[in-house]
């Protein structure tokens, strides 16, 4: 401790509750996101069991609506986003040669607000009023006129709190990537995954505030009787659709771009080739991000915006196929002539390519506004977005998790079990969703509780349900693999795939808390591969060994998030449910207490300077070789 600041360092549970280490926060994101992935997956299985035969009554119509709403909301906001953030946290600082993210403390706030927002949303299952108007929460369904219970209160407040976490996370990664790259790591030498995280963070920055306003307005409508979306008060229901999709469409690119990044890394590593067309990949990613903001109204072709608006949004949407096509061909040309190893990670990546192409093709079909009038609200749409989100994002996340597992945990996942995961999940996925294209074309509407016999839907729904069960089985294999691996010795090498190209493979697995003993000097794209080709076994350091400054752990982020959780809960029950305290609604009093907790934590953080602590060179020598 060079400066004599005695910093308490915790162990055990307190270590995890107070951590500001991006690698640990990444693991927290993975555990929480993985948990909600299981919850959302269970909801999906219940949906599929209900639909396996006509006129089934496995769940009631009301429960079905709740299940489908919570399935969509959970999967997008509480499962996909956090697992993406898990990979971002675990890998991006390592890929750019940084010791930490720009704001370690804010990083922890990001995780805890996401977590408590997610918990708040799911508390609805236990209080018995669950959101049931679809994950898009279209007005006026989501207003008090048609939804008098607290279902959508949980939706608006839970997502609002979780959204804060996502927004600050996005800002954190933008600043980290702009300001904290190692010497020589120019923008055009950054690994593709880091590039995709950079663009995704920019999309988060500009898309999430629109959701913040939408949710706040809907909350005002529900809690304070405002009139934003209520036509009887002069409000406009279509306004919600605009605000939601101005956020919502960039959101789907926020989800898919990191998967593109993962695939680029995995395909390149396991083909033992430089990524084909790196600069065009960067360009395509930026273009997709840019165009992603111009296409929101293609979700609203049937709303009646008129032929001019529909035409423009239709063309803008089709344009996105061009940069996406560039990416697909670049992956194919990377594989072409490479010495390919089909590890499980690479299987997921190679499986991703044709699957995502299919989702893209139906996307272009849906982009044609006149045709969309036929597809709209049918199972064709359900098939389309599951092809891009499950066949795209989830396969990408599986590829990334298998690829980076040794770097995150120091242990290699079992390859055999991982390949079993791939084949069951992959086949199950196509069984589930391929037939849904045809169900949609035959006229089966989405979001229905059941269907009549004799419409020709029976067989395909049965196939779809069998596929869903197979996907469930694939997920169980993955969990089994995780558990078995956890009991193996921590013996993964620095570069366990032996073909690592980027900086994260130059340091021990798992990375020590300071990441790099000496900041590396980057001499080109694929920094580590370049050193290998020049006959070196490690990076040239850019600095002498010295003491390393680390941020102190803190419990405040947890309490800030708990404060917001209390506020959310209080605001919901402010219409007499909890009685009054001193003439004021008890709900508002509780809400106020929550806000005070949060603001008090902010003030404490501002007033007390965090000097952090130092890890001295001697300590580095001891720890340097240890994983």
């Amino acid at each position: 401790m060079a400066h004599g600041h005695a910093v308490k360092r915790y162990s055990g549970l307190m270590d995890w509750l107070t951590t500001v280490d991006h690698k640990k926060i990444g693991i927290l994101y993975l555990i929480a996101g993985g948990f909600f992935f299981l919850v959302g997956g269970l909801e999906a299985l219940l949906i599929r069991i209900q639909l396996w035969k006509p006129l089934n009554d496995f769940v009631s119509a009301d429960t079905y609506n709740e299940l489908l709403t919570m399935h969509g909301t959970t999967m997008i906001f509480l499962a996909a986003m956090p697992v993406i953030f898990a990979l971002m946290n675990a890998i991006v600082p390592l890929q750019i040669g940084a010791r930490d993210v720009a704001y370690p403390f804010v990083n922890a706030i990001g995780f805890w607000t996401f977590f408590f927002g997610a918990v708040l949303l799911n508390v609805s299952w236990f209080t018995g009023s669950v959101p049931d108007g679809g994950w898009t929460a279209y007005a006026p369904f989501s207003g008090t006129t048609f939804n008098g219970d607290h279902g959508f209160d949980y939706y608006v407040l839970g997502l609002q709190i979780a959204g804060i976490g996502t927004l600050v996370g996005g800002i954190n990664f933008l600043v980290t990537i702009i300001n904290m790259r190692a010497p020589g790591m120019t923008f055009m030498r950054m690994p593709m995954f880091t590039w995709s995280v950079f663009i995704t963070s920019a999309l988060i920055l500009f898309a999430f505030p629109a959701l913040t306003v939408g949710l706040a307005a809907l909350m005002f409508d529900r809690v304070f009787d405002a009139n934003f979306f209520d036509p009887s008060g002069g409000g406009n229901a279509v306004l919600w659709e605009h605000i939601f999709w101005i956020f919502g469409h960039p959101e789907v690119y926020i989800l898919i771009l990191p998967a593109f990044g993962v695939i680029s890394e995995v395909v390149s590593t396991f083909s033992r080739k430089r990524l084909f067309g790196y600069s065009s990949m960067v360009f395509a990613t930026i273009l997709i991000g840019f165009l992603g903001f111009m296409v929101w109204a293609h979700h609203m072709f049937t709303t009646g915006l008129g032929p001019v608006a529909n035409g423009l949004f239709s063309i803008a949407t089709m344009l996105i196929a061009v940069p996406t096509g560039i990416k697909i061909f670049n992956w194919l040309f990377t594989l072409w002539g490479g010495s390919i190893t089909f590890t499980a990670a690479n299987l997921f990546a190679v499986g991703f390519i044709p699957t995502f192409v299919m989702g893209g093709v139906t996307g272009v079909m849906l982009a044609a506004a006149p045709a969309d009038f036929q597809y709209h609200d049918s199972y064709f749409v359900v098939a389309h977005f599951h092809y891009v989100i499950v066949g795209g994002l989830v396969l990408g996340l599986f590829a990334g998790l298998h690829y980076w597992w040794p770097k995150m945990f120091g242990r290699m996942l079992n390859e055999g079990l991982a390949k079993l995961t791939f084949w069951t999940f992959f086949i199950g996925f196509h069984l589930t969703f391929f037939v849904q294209h045809f169900l949609g074309l035959m006229g089966m509407p989405r979001r229905i509780w059941t269907y009549l016999d004799g419409l020709g839907f029976n067989e395909m729904n049965l196939i779809s349900t069998i596929g869903a069960l197979l996907m469930g089985l694939g997920t169980i294999f993955f969990l089994l693999n995780v558990v078995i691996t956890a009991f193996k010795p921590k013996n993964a090498a620095n570069d366990p795939w032996e073909d690592g190209r980027t900086l994260e493979w130059t340091i021990p697995s798992p990375a020590p808390e300071y990441n790099f003993k000496q900041t590396p000097l980057v001499r080109g794209y694929d920094a580590y591969w370049k050193e290998k080709m020049d006959g070196h076994t490690e990076m040239t350091p850019a600095e002498p060994i010295g003491s390393i400054h680390m941020p102190s752990p803190s419990i405040l982020p947890l309490f800030m998030a708990i404060g917001l959780f209390i506020t959310g809960l209080g605001l919901m029950y402010s219409h007499g449910e909890w009685g009054k305290i001193a003439g004021i609604e008890a709900g508002f009093v509780v809400g106020g207490i929550g806000l005070i907790i949060t603001f008090a934590c902010m003030i404490i953080r501002s007033l007390i300077d965090d000097h952090g602590f130092h890890i001295e060179p001697e300590e580095l020598q001891d720890k340097g070789v240890k994983a």
Binding site: A216, F224, N227, F228
Partner: protein
């Protein structure tokens, strides 16, 4: 990543950018203001979409009292100027001057906030409550979000004044003060748009 790259007791030329933490804070804050721009942009869009839906409530032409709003505008614009003086004092390493300019900024901000509260209570008396119509809901939400930002800024800058008085100008306090300055300008810019789009357009259109 050393936090103290300068000689002890001597502040570098631009203390707010002397450390990586300071540079991170400033860049991150600019990005945050980008997000705030989208936030207010969406609020403006919602207001513009709903501002003609007055139902039984008063119309904007009857409601708005421009002299009062003009006075509030004057106060807020002046406070932006004084916050510039504070940042200039920061660059000249004059802590005392800096604190005084920040105090003036806070007082002007409080004046603005007082006028806004007075204005809102007048409107409520004239039958323009939060729940009256889509116009009133979107009006109070947009202008109220701005007011909440002013209030937050006042509390923030007041706390900063305390910190500056106690700890002086250091490479830790300088970025905080600098960032609060940009925040205050941003609030001002938003108000310029509110004055134009809500009040002036509300009077003529």
């Amino acid at each position: 990543m050393s936090a103290h790259s300068h000689t002890e007791g001597q502040l570098p030329h631009e203390p707010e950018k002397a450390t990586l933490e300071g540079r991170n804070k400033i860049l991150g804050f600019w990005l945050f203001l980008g997000a705030e721009t989208v936030l207010f942009g969406t609020l403006f869009s919602a207001f513009l979409a709903l501002r003609d839906q007055v139902l039984d409530g008063p119309k904007s032409q009857e409601l708005f009292e421009l002299p009062l709003v003009a006075l509030a505008t004057g106060l807020l614009l002046t406070s932006s100027l004084t916050s510039v003086f504070a940042t200039q004092a920061l660059h000249m390493h004059k802590v005392k001057a800096m604190i005084w300019w920040l105090v003036v900024t806070v007082i002007l901000g409080l004046g603005f906030l007082g006028l806004e509260i007075y204005e809102f209570s007048n409107y409520v008396h004239e039958g323009h409550g939060f729940t009256t119509s889509a116009f009133s809901s979107s009006f109070y939400t947009l202008v109220g979000f701005h007011g909440a930002h002013v209030a937050f800024g006042i509390v923030w800058i007041s706390l900063l004044i305390g910190q500056l008085a106690k700890k002086g100008l250091t490479v830790t306090t300088a970025p905080k003060a600098y960032v609060a300055g940009i925040y205050w300008h941003f609030i001002d810019v938003v108000w310029v748009f509110i004055f134009t789009v809500v009040y002036l357009m509300g009077k003529v259109g």
